[in-house]
């Protein structure tokens, strides 16, 4: 079954890299949607079916933790897995992500294997 994926990061480079890494990790990817911040991501989610979200934390307009809170606050998206992909390695941000319901946490820089291992526990 192909997964429709939403990648949320203010860096176009990271959005491209994640797509490449998902292919390298043999993840069965269908449609890939991209957003530059949490506001764009919510707009995209309203009009499309998505199976998996990757979100950065530090973004303008709406950061990744705010986006995670909004997603988990909506019944239609409660079960949508959201994986945080970020440079933030401090316990505070990790715990905040877990408490808000993140399905996984990947620190940048990352390898295809790390993405694969994170997804193995989720999908």
């Amino acid at each position: 079954m192909l997964l429709d994926v939403l990648i949320v990061d203010d860096s176009a480079a990271i959005r491209k890299i994640l797509q490449r890494v998902l292919r390298q990790a043999d993840v069965p990817v269908g449609e890939v949607y991209e957003a530059g911040d949490g506001v764009e991501a919510l707009d995209l989610l309203k009009g499309r079916h998505v199976d998996l979200v990757f979100a950065d934390i530090n973004m303008p307009n709406m950061d990744g933790l705010q986006l995670l809170g909004k997603i988990k606050g909506e019944d239609q998206w409660k079960k949508l897995p959201v994986i945080m992909v970020t440079t933030e390695g401090g316990q505070t941000k990790v715990m905040a992500s877990v408490e808000l319901g993140a399905a996984g946490y990947v620190k940048k820089p990352f390898t295809a294997d790390q993405i694969r291992q994170t997804l193995a526990g989720i999908l």
């Binding site: 203010d10 860096s11 176009a12 480079a13 990271i14 491209k16 890299i17 490449r20 530090n58 973004m59 303008p60 440079t87 933030e88 390695g89 401090g90 505070t92 940048k108 820089p109 990352f110 390898t111």
Partner: protein
């Protein structure tokens, strides 16, 4: 307040840069001798990515590279061709993200010592004969990196945040006027 030593900042930068270049770029870089640079507005060429840091300590992180290195960063990060050192938006974005990862990972180590630090999103500047300067007189810790693709400098300038200033006796705050 916890203090941080120069060697600790250098080690954080070196470790972060090595991890980023090895994991995401598959590029060999060699860290050179670190040094301290005064916070003066000397002019430079190339690409500069700036990131603000704030918390118990405040300052900035900066990645500076020449166009050749910027192109190499872009082509290694994205497995794409970079033609003729033509610095475009995609290359600047790639440099910004590498700066974000290096400064971000260095920050993770540094905040174990000085306390939590917040980080801004990167700002990237490109051109010739421009200067960058942060407010305050604190010097930069600089770690140079060399590769066959050009040069890169990673710099960090950090100082304890000033205590909030109390209102002085006799000081009358300005009134808001409605016009």
């Amino acid at each position: 307040m916890e203090q941080i030593r120069q060697e600790e900042i250098v080690a954080a930068i070196r470790g972060a840069a090595a991890e980023v270049f090895e994991t995401m770029l598959n590029l060999d870089i060699a860290a050179g001798e670190p040094y301290v640079e005064p916070n003066t507005a000397e002019t430079t060429d190339g690409v500069v990515a700036l990131i603000g840091l704030a918390g118990a300590w405040v300052g900035s992180g900066l990645l500076h590279c020449d166009p050749k290195m910027a192109c190499r960063i872009y082509s290694s990060l994205l497995a794409a061709e970079c033609g003729d050192l033509d610095i475009n938006e995609e290359i600047l974005d790639a440099v910004a993200e590498v700066a974000n990862m290096i400064i971000g990972n260095a920050k993770n180590v540094i905040e174990e010592i000085v306390g939590p630090l917040g980080m801004s999103t990167p700002t990237v500047v490109f051109g010739k004969n421009f200067a960058t300067r942060s407010t305050g007189a604190d010097p930069w810790t600089v770690v140079p990196f060399a590769s066959d693709s050009g040069m890169m400098l990673v710099k960090l300038c950090l100082a304890p945040a000033r205590e909030p200033q109390p209102i002085r006796h006799g000081f009358v705050p300005p009134r808001l006027l409605s016009l």
